[in-house]
């Protein structure tokens, strides 16, 4: 019971902190002081107080976009285990639901963007649709590899099973998987080198351009939903790359928080040392990620 409470509290409270840490890391690389760690919380809180402007072109689909994408991410957060603790809800085949919940959220985000009739938002959603379609097989290859290594069909069991002993046993496969999944993590959360959340040129953006017309509380929901998505997908990745576990419940929670913060620092570092890729290069990199993950699958099922 305590574990479920901690799980819920972490999922609700911690996500924006990751964005703060990423921002601080980038500031450190640039030699600036940077915004405070809690800045994303202030932003979301401020947006919640603001008024809203709706475009005259839009219908209820536009309003459903932020709601559905936040709701699906929240349900996905219940399926993913945090650190060594199993998820509140877990059943055979939940990994497929996990993957498809994001598809539902994405569908509504794209539809909401297209509902505005703006060509910028059309561009953004066309890119989002194509890139996420290319990222989908990578996630499934990863799920197959993990399912094979752990001998189970639920996210909690297969992710918690990954430990240093599995790394010793199937290190090559896991290493390939970490590479592939890191690319998926960055592209799904629209980070550099695939997308730049801070750019001011709408033509080059993906996620940020899709939500150009959302304002006030709706934009707060979107910002919060995006950080939650980073948190949920990050928790998946942390299991693969940083599988710390001690067996002591409280210590494990602490280790999970630390590894999530580490992940944020890594993402911040990548964003600081890389430039955005040209759009035509992104599909190539996504296919490369799929092939990496496919290699890891072949290694374990041969």
């Amino acid at each position: 019971m305590t574990d479920i409470l901690i799980h819920l509290l972490l999922a609700i409270l911690m996500p924006p902190l990751l964005l703060g840490v990423i921002g601080k890391t980038k500031a450190a690389f640039a030699g600036r002081v940077g915004a405070p760690f809690l800045q994303p919380y202030y932003d979301i809180f401020r947006l919640l107080q603001k008024g809203t402007v709706f475009s005259t072109t839009t219908t209820w689909i536009f309003r459903a976009g932020p709601i559905v994408s936040l709701a699906t991410t929240a349900v996905a957060a219940l399926l993913i285990p945090f650190g060594a603790h199993p998820a509140p809800i877990s059943f055979q085949g939940d990994m497929i639901l996990y993957a498809y919940l994001f598809a539902l959220g994405r569908f509504f985000t794209m539809a909401a963007a297209l509902d505005t009739g703006s060509s910028f938002e059309g561009m953004g959603s066309a890119r989002e649709a194509t890139y996420s379609c290319l990222a989908e097989p990578t996630l499934f290859f990863a799920l197959i590899t993990l399912s094979r290594l752990s001998g189970s069909y639920s996210l909690s069991a297969m992710l918690i099973k990954v430990s240093s002993s599995i790394w010793l046993e199937a290190g090559a496969a896991l290493l390939l998987l970490v590479g592939g999944m890191f690319i998926v993590l960055l592209v799904e959360n629209c980070r550099i080198p695939f997308d730049d959340p801070n750019t001011h040129l709408e033509l080059t953006m993906i996620h940020e351009v899709m939500v150009l017309d959302h304002s006030g509380p709706a934009f707060a929901l979107i910002q919060y939903g995006a950080s939650l998505k980073l948190f949920v997908l990050g928790a998946f990745f942390v299991h693969l790359a940083l599988p710390y576990a001690t067996g002591k419940p409280l210590l494990d929670w602490l280790l999970f928080i630390i590894s999530m913060l580490e992940l944020a620092v890594i993402i911040g570092t990548v964003e600081s040392v890389m430039a955005r890729l040209r759009l035509v290069r992104i599909p190539q990199l996504l296919v490369a990620a799929t092939i990496l993950a496919a290699f890891s699958t072949l290694l374990v099922i041969r």
């Binding site: 107080q49 603001k50 008024g51 809203t52 709706f54 475009s55 005259t56 072109t57 839009t58 219908t59 689909i61 709601i67 559905v68 709701a71 699906t72 929240a74 349900v75 809800i89 059943f91 055979q92 085949g93 497929i96 639901l97 993957a99 498809y100 919940l101 598809a103 539902l104 794209m110 539809a111 297209l114 509902d115 009739g117 959603s125 066309a126 890119r127 649709a129 194509t130 996420s132 379609c133 290319l134 989908e136 097989p137 990578t138 499934f140 290859f141 799920l143 197959i144 399912s147 094979r148 069909y153 709408e202 150009l212 017309d213 509380p217 709706a218 707060a220 929901l221 699958t297 099922i301």
Partner: protein, 664 residues
């Protein structure tokens, strides 16, 4: 309830009579002036379907076979009609879609506006539905072929309803050639079966051995004949243009039900054989996943609303075939979970596809009525004028993408479970690689249908035709609403779907149905229900929170943010083609889009047009060149065909004479 129904009347007889009533529903209209005939036909069809649906359900859950013998004096053995759970299972969509489409036609193709075509359309529509219902009951090979031909021809006459248009005639010709090539394969199939069993009666389940070479030939002929009707790649060439050019409720019938008749043939054939070799399952799996991938890749590139839907039918039939192939592999390798999940997924996907595809095709009829075009690039903003249609269409769109919490997800979920279960199996572990492929199919479907939905219903109108559309009348909305409700029902309560497919599955593989797996996977499907409820709860909570915040501050309206540009017009909107352009460029190796770019010359080039045209790769690059070669090399035979009737009669006489000599 079943026993009470049985006391009143035998459900099998009710089903047969309902089928006959639907078949004759259009006859009164042939002798009346246009108008009342259509009404009579619709009332008859709906009433017959209301009787036929419960009867089919009762037969499905009766776990028994009702057999009738039709008295005929043709020399092909006795003409048996039988309804077993597999037949009853396929009867469900026939009755449902027939009634829904008939009701829809009142608003979509009213006799008052289509005086010339309405009678024929109504007559052949009933005949098509009725022939399919009789087809699944037929147990005599020759009778089966006769009914098959009635089905194929009535579909042709429905398809060429608007025969004054050239593209319709062309679609009709392609369909006619494709369907008769398939029929030719079926002649081979039934002849070989008759050679095997000694009579034209279809063999009993599991009565034939799959080992001799002739069994392989029978299976190949069945795949060619039935696969052409189902639209499995590369036998799908007739499908996109036929579905696009038929009236929408006919497209719903063809896609929702007629394609399933091909699948029924394949299912029925497979029941004849015991211990099918691994090769069969492997072949069906490969054919299925190829169809699914290529079908949806072609769908992404389409700009014609109904062509997109038609291409996605190829995809869905491919998914069903994949499930069937996987189930056969499970039977061959005595792997019960794989057999169960593959078969349950395939059967449930048949049900699902016959719910969401008619919904979308009927919706496309409403859209075409409202906008006057099938070209998605000219539409837009319909959602504001027709909110009910937009909502119902949205249900179909999400369902067909296989996204929770709707029914398309449930059947794909079962297939995924089957693929993953293979990881712990001792052999054929590599089948799990189907999972990423199915995920890719899902991703492409999401692109295709986001494109479809958003370019039709969202944004602003891109042309004058779409500027002032109207909401559809109740007769058109009601059938769509029924399909949407059923999609939601199976999506939210997946165990209902599992219960529905259980009898047909048990008829196919009784030993698997008795294992623990149905109950075990039923529990997992129950979890999906729980998660759907959680999702709903989360959405409601977020909505309430947002509404509370909205009330606390000002809400204003303004035009869409144009990055500082104030004079944006509908022509600057992202079009359907623009939306899919990136995806098409990634998959252009398969899709082969034709781009017409004018050459620009001079310092001030004149106005020019540029167009991205999706192509029918298989038809245009393979089939048409082959036909041209065949046409040239058989040109000498044309001399026999000169249009003189008496000489034709002489041919028939000579042929008969030679055959009689040969027989002696």
């Amino acid at each position: 309830m079943y026993s009470a129904l049985q006391e009143v009347c035998d459900p099998a007889i009710v089903a047969i009579i309902a089928a006959l009533f639907i078949g004759s529903a259009g006859i009164p209209g042939l002798f009346l002036r246009p108008g009342p005939g259509q009404m009579i036909a619709t009332i008859t069809t709906v009433l017959a379907a209301l009787a036929g649906l419960p009867a089919a359900l009762a037969l499905l859950f009766a776990h028994s076979t009702s057999t009738f013998v039709l008295a005929w004096n043709l020399p092909f053995g006795s003409c048996e009609l039988a309804i077993d759970p597999l037949s009853a299972f396929f009867l469900l969509p026939i009755f449902l879609v027939a009634a829904a489409g008939s009701l829809f036609s009142l608003g979509y193709w009213p006799a008052a506006d289509h005086r010339a075509t309405e009678r024929g359309l109504t007559f052949f529509y009933g005949l098509l539905a009725s022939s399919m219902a009789i087809l699944v009951m037929a147990r005599n090979g020759v009778f089966f072929l006769m009914v098959w031909e009635v089905m194929a021809l009535s579909a042709y006459f429905l398809l060429v309803t608007e025969h004054e248009r050239e593209d319709v005639r062309r679609a009709g010709i392609v369909y006619l050639i494709a369907t008769h090539t398939g029929s030719a394969a079926l002649y081979v199939y039934f002849s070989l079966l008759a050679c095997q069993t000694g009579s034209f009666l279809l063999p009993a389940a599991g009565s034939l051995s799959a080992l001799p070479t002739v069994a392989l030939v029978i299976a190949m002929a069945a795949f060619a004949g039935f696969g052409a009707k189902a639209g499995i790649m590369p036998l799908h060439i007739w499908l996109p243009s036929a579905h696009a050019n038929a009236p929408s409720h006919v497209s719903a019938m063809m896609s929702g039900v007629m394609l399933k008749m091909g699948l029924y043939g394949i299912f029925r054939t497979l029941t004849f054989f015991h211990d099918p070799p691994l090769l069969w399952g492997g072949f069906l799996t490969v054919a299925g996943i190829t169809s699914a991938l290529l079908g949806i890749a072609f769908a992404v590139a389409q700009r014609d609303l109904k062509r997109l839907l038609a291409c996605s039918s190829i995809e869905n039939i491919g998914i069903v075939t994949t499930g069937l192939g996987v189930a056969l592999l499970g039977i061959s390798s005595h792997n019960a979970p794989l057999a169960y999940l593959g078969m349950a997924g395939a059967l449930l996907h048949i049900v699902n596809h016959s719910l969401f595809k008619p919904l979308l095709f009927l919706g496309s009829g409403v859209i075409i009525h409202a906008s006057g075009t099938r070209e998605m690039n000219l539409m837009g903003g319909l959602g504001k004028y027709m909110p009910r249609t937009a909502l119902l269409f949205l249900v179909g769109t999400i369902a067909i993408c296989g996204i929770p919490p709707l029914n398309g997800f449930v059947s794909e979920f079962l297939l995924y479970l089957g693929f993953f279960a293979q990881l712990q199996a001792t052999s054929m572990t590599y089948l799990v690689l189907l999972a990423p492929l199915l995920a890719l199919v899902g991703g492409l479907a999401a692109i295709a249908f986001t494109k479809l939905y958003s370019s039709v219903f969202l944004g602003t109108a891109r042309s004058q035709g779409a500027a002032h559309p109207h909401e559809a009348p109740l007769t058109m909305l009601l059938p769509m609403g029924i399909f949407a409700l059923l999609c939601l029902l199976i999506g939210l309560a997946p165990q209902l779907g599992q219960r529905l497919v259980a009898p047909a599955l048990a008829a196919f593989m009784p030993e698997v149905a008795l294992t623990v797996y149905p109950a075990e996977y039923g529990v997992i499907l129950g979890r999906l229900f729980l998660l759907s409820m959680l999702l709903l709860l989360a959405a409601i909570m977020v909505t309430l929170f947002w509404r509370w915040r909205l009330r606390q501050a000002d809400v204003a309206t303004a035009s869409t943010w144009g990055c500082g540009y104030q004079r944006a017009t509908a022509r600057m909107e992202y079009t359907a083609t623009a939306f899919s352009e990136l995806a098409v460029s990634v998959f252009n190796g398969i899709i082969r889009q034709r781009v017409e770019r004018p050459a620009l010359t001079g310092i001030f080039p004149a106005a020019a047009r540029c167009a991205d045209l999706p192509t029918e790769t298989v038809l245009e690059r393979i089939i048409v060149p082959l036909f041209n070669i065949a046409g040239l090399s058989f040109a000498f035979l044309r001399r026999l065909q000169h249009g003189q009737m008496h000489v034709y009669m002489l041919y028939i006489f000579v042929t008969l004479f030679i055959l009689m000599l040969w027989a002696h």
